[in-house]
């Protein structure tokens, strides 16, 4: 008896936790009751606390995909013809980093940039939520990375110390990434990492002149108008070799070297697919789908109660718990919801009821055979489990292939299908839990034999 009370306690605790996560970000209630105006506004309390020295910060908001909130989905193909096979992965990654930097400059919130290898083709996928003026975005991304060296605007004038250093570095020297043969990570005598540059012959001459007139002064290296490093020249440098020192970690030095290489060895990219969805289209679709989902759900509940009576009520409870748990999982991970994703979720509601129907039919069968109530439930569950397990494993298998978690390039790697597969997968897993475990508890709790 005691253990069951503890179980109920744990159950209730979990339940409230899940409801907490499910609450929407913001609720505004305004209505009139008699002569009283009631206005109530609720903000979802996000988790932000310290536990054993760990900062836990989590906001539970529903993430919407591009097809729902609008934005651009761009797929570029990199032209690797002129790049040695061994350098291709590096080149692709540095191109991706360059695009990421540019997109960040553009001020896009939550951009998603991935690389994708398909057979011999190297691709970069760029998702820009909220961006609909795509010609500008494509133009910005499409340029090859540009490295250039700059010096202080005026060599003679006293420099106002209040101006940030990188703003003083406004004079272009004419030395650019075109003159850099390559860049690599080096270590100085003390073992600290630095970045070495190797210029071609023109570059070497120009660099000699620039360093000659700037001894004791800073010279800046800009990548896409963004200052990478502003070292101070110690002495005139001849021979076409330069070293950028600074307090680099190995990781930073590597990144810088890659960034410079990407400027020096630009991979040209070509747009092969683009999808732009305006925000109004998406919102309209979500609203309609949600209303459809609610009406469908009500129809299912009505049917279950009419057909199975009290067992139908239990199935409804299990179904509501199912809905709350899946929503909580979707918000916690968080899973980016797309329109097919919502369809997958709604479909899985239909499938969740199935486990219950299977169990109820079995229980009724056992009762018909004259077994007493407890035995009927025990046997009914035991027998139904086999069918439920086998049936759901095949659905999980299909969802798994569609989701393609390892991104194998022989299977589909498309965002929309993945969204559908993922919500279906979560739906089926959750329904296995609620349909079997939760329903059993609920039946013992609420269903008494006549």
């Amino acid at each position: 008896m005691k253990t069951s009370k503890i179980l109920i306690g744990i159950f209730l605790l979990m339940f409230f936790g899940i409801v907490y996560i499910d609450l929407p970000q913001k609720i505004n209630l305004k209505y009139t009751l008699g002569k009283k105006n009631i206005s109530y506004s609720f903000n979802h309390p996000n988790l932000d606390f310290k536990l054993f020295g760990l900062t836990i910060k989590k906001n539970f908001s529903t993430q919407l995909g591009l097809d729902l909130k609008g934005g651009s989905h761009l797929v570029f193909e990199a032209d690797m013809k002129n790049i040695a096979a061994s350098d291709r992965t590096d080149a692709l990654i540095s191109t991706r980093d360059t695009i990421e930097r540019r997109v960040n400059l553009f001020g896009v919130s939550e951009p998603n940039i991935q690389t994708l290898k398909v057979g011999n083709s190297d691709r970069i996928i760029v998702d820009l939520p909220g961006i609909t003026d795509v010609s500008e975005a494509v133009g910005l991304i499409g340029q090859t990375a540009q490295l250039d060296f700059r010096e202080q605007a005026s060599l003679e004038a006293k420099v106002a110390t209040t101006t940030p250093l990188f703003l003083q570095m406004s004079k272009r020297t004419g030395l650019t990434g075109k003159n850099v043969k390559r860049s690599l990570v080096q270590f100085d005598q003390t073992g600290k990492p630095s970045v070495g540059l190797e210029f071609d012959s023109t570059g070497a001459k120009m660099f000699e002149e620039i360093t000659g007139r700037n001894v004791g002064r800073p010279v800046a290296i800009f990548l896409d108008d963004f200052p990478l490093s502003i070292p101070t020249v110690q002495q005139q440098i001849t021979g076409g070799q330069a070293i950028i020192t600074g307090n680099f970690s190995l990781e930073e030095a590597k990144k810088l070297s890659i960034a410079i290489n990407s400027g020096a060895l630009p991979v040209s990219i070509r747009l092969i697919e683009q999808r732009n969805i305006g925000p109004t289209l998406g919102q309209d679709q979500v609203n309609k789908s949600i209303i459809a989902g609610i009406i469908g759900l009500l129809a299912v509940i009505l049917f279950m109660i009419l057909y199975y009576g009290r067992l139908g009520f239990i199935a409804t409870m299990a179904l509501i718990i199912y809905g709350l748990i899946s929503l909580a999982i979707i918000k916690t991970i968080p899973i980016v919801l797309t329109l097919p994703g919502i369809a997958g979720f709604i479909l899985s509601i239909g499938m969740a009821v199935d486990s219950n129907i299977l169990i109820f039919e079995r229980i009724k069968e056992e009762l018909r055979r004259g077994n007493d109530f407890n035995l009927a439930i025990k046997w009914g569950f035991g027998r139904a489990i086999d069918a439920i397990k086998d049936a759901n494993i095949t659905t999980l298998l299909v969802a798994f292939i569609l989701f393609n978690p390892v991104n194998w390039d022989i299977f589909p790697q498309f965002g929309l299908i993945k969204g559908f597969a993922l919500t279906l997968f979560i739906g089926v897993m959750t329904s296995l839990f609620t349909g079997v475990f939760i329903t059993k508890r609920l039946i013992y709790f609420f269903y008494k034999p006549k």
């Binding site: 010609s135 697919e273 289209l281 309609k288 479909l347 086998d390 049936a391 095949t394 022989i410 589909p412």
Partner: protein, 289 residues
């Protein structure tokens, strides 16, 4: 107990008629293939005033852009499917249309897929379907310790696949649905649902064979079908209720996707007792004779 297996020929006849008419439709009408597979461009504009097709068409034609289809919904919303254009051309078209009609345009949708990407998508899709079928076959053979169960379930699933491909061609021709990635998703989901349903019946057969090993297979199969019928219908009904709601009031972007799922659910439910079980019976009979 109802003697379902007695009317085997009727079931096969129904399936043959449905599948054959689908194949005829595929042969005569084919499909509207979406840009996902064929490559090309989709554009949707919202104008702030009433427009006519004839206002817009010349703008595309002047730029030598081929229009595959163009339609206007709700008097001010334009949908066009054209040959592949890039974002610069799209901007030019939009600017020109705004100037010509003295209107404001809101870009709702602009999608372009290159032709090579489309081919790749088709290949990937086929591989995914084959691997899914093979996986299901292996799992069922393992779960039922008998290849025949797996085979019968897969044949029923392929039956559903054929029904879907055929009816989708009809929907494509008469209602203008496009064969796209969502259709592929619907196909794979239907296959898993169909097998799901078949397993429930097979599970009963497996149980009775253990318990009543003296009875012949036909009796056992009839009994299993009779006993699972209510569950099958009830289960399908709940899924159908959800899907019908989505078809009627859900968004139009997924309407055909949901409609395909709906047809898939119906044929998936039908094929378990009326295709998978008779085929299993045929396979079993061959062994004993």
């Amino acid at each position: 107990m109802i003697n379902f297996l007695k009317y085997k020929t009727v079931y096969f006849l129904i399936s043959t008629v449905v599948i054959l008419s689908g194949i005829f439709s595929i042969y005569y009408y084919g499909y509207n293939v979406s840009i996902d597979f064929a490559g090309g461009t989709n554009i949707a504009y919202q104008f702030n005033k009433k427009i006519a097709k004839t206002d817009i068409e010349p703008i595309f034609k002047n730029k030598k852009i081929k229009i595959f289809s163009i339609s206007i919904t709700g008097s001010n919303r334009l949908h066009a499917r054209t040959s592949s254009i890039d974002e610069k051309q799209e901007k030019q078209i939009r600017d020109e249309a705004e100037k010509k009609l003295n209107a404001k345009i809101q870009l709702l949708l602009f999608e372009t897929v290159g032709p090579t990407l489309g081919r790749e998508t088709i290949i990937k899709t086929i591989i995914a379907s084959l691997v899914a079928s093979l996986g299901i076959l292996l799992y069922l053979t393992f779960a039922f310790k008998n290849l025949k169960y797996g085979l019968a379930a897969i044949i029923a699933a392929i039956h559903d696949l054929l029904v879907l491909f055929g009816t989708f061609s009809l929907i494509s021709h008469f209602l203008g649905a496009e064969l796209d990635l969502l259709f592929v998703t619907a196909i794979l989901t239907t296959m898993s649902f169909s097998v799901h349903d078949t397993i429930v019946v097979f599970d009963k057969i497996r149980e009775y064979r253990k318990k009543e090993w003296k009875s012949d297979f036909k009796t056992i199969a009839n009994r299993a079908v009779t006993e699972t019928m209510v569950r099958s219908l009830n289960n399908s009904l709940t899924i159908i209720l959800m899907l019908v709601a989505l078809v009627l009031i859900g968004g139009e972007v997924i309407r055909f996707f949901v409609l395909t799922l709906l047809i898939g659910t119906i044929t998936g439910t039908y094929s378990s007792p009326f295709v998978a079980v008779p085929i299993l019976e045929l396979l079993e009979r061959r062994k004993s004779s």
